[in-house]
């Protein structure tokens, strides 16, 4: 099991610099060393690749930079591998061939910052295809308010492929409740290839935080990244800033965060289970699941005052306490929830139509899952035992004991069952934490955030690991990078959908519990060069 020394040695051998600070190892190396070191960390040491972050540091030190973020889940370490790039012509070597999970984030860095990657094809990922050339929103000289001329806006049209049938799915489609576009190529009933064009929900969150917000306001902005797992994002941001600034957060606040995080996991899992049954044509299961889910909304409202977008996180603590009365109400509500849920789910997953359509469809083999760096229940259903709550403990999870369900089948059924088991685990975590809730303040007395510090944090959202990277600046984050779990899971759909029946496509897409609003803050999709673009601009 590699420890801090092994990672430090990687930089030392090649004459790089390093700093080990808390649980994070920062390595600064020459751009030409990025690829071999990333290869070693990912393929030899078996660390998870989380994301890469491009930063425009020209106002600070006259350089661009690229940082690859890894986590070593066995030793609980964060590894930030950084390189400074030329300010005029930022070029970095691509690591996507040795770390396939880095494919999207490199394209994103190209789109948003204009960093070129050598040794790969570069294309638009996040910004619309009609976005003006050479304008990169995350460069510091770009004003967050400058809008392109929307009269230029056109839909992208894609050429149909002759040898196979094409089934467009989206961007507005009854099986999807968010705008995203899938193109399924079929031969008869079988799907032979998939193309995804998302990023319809790119709202410019990172730029907004870097130009208009202050540290505390970003918590509320982070919550609006996603309406389903928003609290994970705001907790992740707050923890990252606290780690960077060394803020001492009271235990009680950490317990409250963990409790609310688990409430959010409950509501998210129940939501997905309901939607999955709906897509299988089992609407009774859908309606009952959502009836049960309503109890979690009552819980959330009781604990935070709001059904969604709770708004209780701040850097340094939380804004709302849990008193004895709430405690007993939460416990009795949880009891009712477990009883209801057990009854509904036992009937639902043993219904013959549900069982047959889930079992053996949408298989993701373990090796593909590791290579693509999938997260959360998708990884755990494919036999990868990883859960940030246990591996990289944050908030108050070290005080709770829980099991991480792992299945090896990798099919849609396994992904559903992982979530079913996690519901019971979450209920047990909430009960344990409420029981152990320590006394004390809920907000740190002093929150001072010096500029130039880096904080990286992973939080296990219902869909997998969220990662936030914060480089502190003057009064607001200088650079804030968010990577949501769906971002890592979507590329795996190509593997899951291939050679499946067309009718199973919607449930397979839903089985990763895609959350496009999280993913799309950033940008684009690759199509493996199989799709030629038609003359665009003809239609709205």
């Amino acid at each position: 099991m590699p420890g801090v020394e092994e990672y430090v040695r990687l930089a030392q051998e090649r004459g790089g610099k390093w700093v080990a600070h808390g649980d994070t190892v920062h390595l600064v190396v020459d751009p030409s060393d990025l690829r071999p070191i990333a290869d070693k960390i990912f393929n030899e040491y078996g660390a998870s690749f989380r994301t890469c972050v491009g930063t425009d540091e020209r106002p600070l030190n006259n350089h661009f930079s690229i940082t690859h973020l890894f986590t070593d889940d066995r030793s609980g370490l964060y590894i930030a591998l950084k390189s400074y790039l030329d300010p005029e012509n930022p070029v970095a070597p691509s690591i996507a061939d040795v770390v396939p999970a880095a494919d999207w984030c490199e394209l994103e860095a190209w789109d948003m910052l204009g960093i070129r990657f050598e040794g790969r094809r570069l294309e638009r990922l996040v910004l619309p295809y009609w976005w003006p050339e050479g304008v990169h929103p995350l460069r510091k000289e770009f004003d967050y308010k400058s809008r392109p001329d929307v009269s230029l806006a056109r839909s992208e049209r894609v050429a149909l492929r002759k040898e196979v049938g094409t089934v467009p799915l989206g961007p507005y489609h009854p099986a999807l409740h968010e705008p995203e576009y899938f193109e399924l190529y079929v031969k008869g009933e079988r799907v032979v290839d998939v193309r995804y064009r998302g990023f319809h929900v790119h709202r410019g969150i990172e730029k907004l935080a870097e130009s208009r917000m202050n540290y505390q306001q970003v918590n509320f902005l982070a919550e609006r990244i996603c309406g389903i797992c928003g609290f994970e994002h705001s907790t992740c941001y707050a923890l990252a800033v606290e780690k960077a600034a060394g803020v001492d957060v009271p235990e009680r606040a950490q317990f409250i965060r963990s409790i609310v995080l688990e409430v959010e996991r409950l509501h998210s899992h129940l939501l997905l289970l309901g939607v999955a049954f709906h897509l299988l044509g089992y609407d009774a299961g859908f309606m009952h699941m959502w009836r049960v889910r309503e109890r979690t909304m009552v819980l959330a409202e009781m604990l935070t005052g709001s059904r969604k977008t709770y708004g209780i996180n701040l850097v340094g603590g939380v804004r709302r306490d849990i008193n004895e009365e709430k405690k007993s109400k939460v416990l009795s509500e949880l009891g009712g929830l477990v009883k209801d849920f057990k009854r509904v789910v036992e009937i639902a997953v043993s219904a013959p139509n549900v069982k047959r359509r889930l079992t053996g469809t949408g298989i993701l083999p373990k090796e593909d899952a590791r290579r693509l760096g999938v997260e959360g229940p998708v990884a755990r259903a494919s036999g990868i035992d990883k859960d940030a709550r246990r591996d990289l403990p944050y908030a108050a999870y070290k005080y709770a004991s829980f099991r991480v369900p792992v299945y090896t089948e990798g099919d849609n059924m396994a992904r559903v069952l992982v979530r079913v088991e996690e519901v019971f685990e979450s209920v047990s975590i909430i009960e344990q934490l409420l029981d152990k809730l320590p006394k004390g303040p809920i907000m740190a007395e002093k929150v001072e955030i010096p500029p130039g510090r880096v904080g990286v944090q992973v939080v296990e959202a219902p869909r997998g690991g969220d990662i936030h990277y914060v480089l502190t600046g003057d009064g607001r984050p200088y650079r804030w990078r968010v990577r949501a779990p769906t971002y890592a899971n979507i590329p795996a759909l190509k593997v899951m959908l291939r050679d499946q029946r067309l009718a199973d496509a919607p449930i397979t897409i839903a089985s990763i519990d895609p959350c496009f609003s999280c993913t799309d803050r950033v940008v684009v999709v690759r199509d493996d060069g199989v799709v030629e673009r038609l003359e665009v601009g003809a239609s709205w």
Binding site: F142, V201, I228, S517
Partner: protein
């Protein structure tokens, strides 16, 4: 209130780039606890069958052409119920580079493209509560009174 849509309202849910919170509350309003179906509200899979569009999100520039297409595909009379802070006025993203800023800006684009909209209802909230979605539907059907009595002045 609408004279032309007197009976069951068929709604089409159009997410123009929102964060999902309003969208799950829309679904929530249709499931047993809130049960919007008792007012005859039915979610339909295509804008061509819809009486009303439930619009959420700040209208991102990527989604804009597709949103215009969807609204254009709707038969007249066209009604839009804009849900949530984002749908109503762009929310916190009202001035960022990649959104156009809510339904008011969208109406300008629609007008420029010659797409007529017969009425817009605004339901604020971040996110909207299912109760307020039900209230909007009831208002649309003429079952309840409008809460804001005078015209709201917008600062441009």
């Amino acid at each position: 209130m609408s004279e032309s849509v007197k009976r069951s309202i068929w709604v089409y849910h159009l997410n123009t780039g929102g964060c999902n919170a309003c969208d799950i509350e829309v679904l929530d309003a249709l499931t047993p606890w809130f049960d919007a179906e008792r007012f005859g509200v039915k979610l339909v899979p295509s804008p061509r069958q819809a009486d009303v569009i439930l619009l959420t999100g700040p209208v991102t520039i990527e989604a804009l052409p597709k949103v215009v297409n969807a609204i254009e595909a709707m038969p007249r009379p066209r009604y839009i119920i804009a849900l949530g802070s984002c749908g109503v006025g762009g929310g916190i993203w009202h001035d960022t580079y990649s959104t156009i800023g809510g339904v008011r800006e969208l109406l300008k684009v629609l007008e420029a493209r010659g797409v007529k909209v017969d009425g817009v209802y605004y339901v604020p909230g971040c996110p909207v509560r299912p109760e307020s979605i039900l209230y909007a539907v009831a208002l649309f059907k003429g079952l309840v009174e409008k809460k804001v009595k005078s015209e709201v002045a917008y600062s441009e």
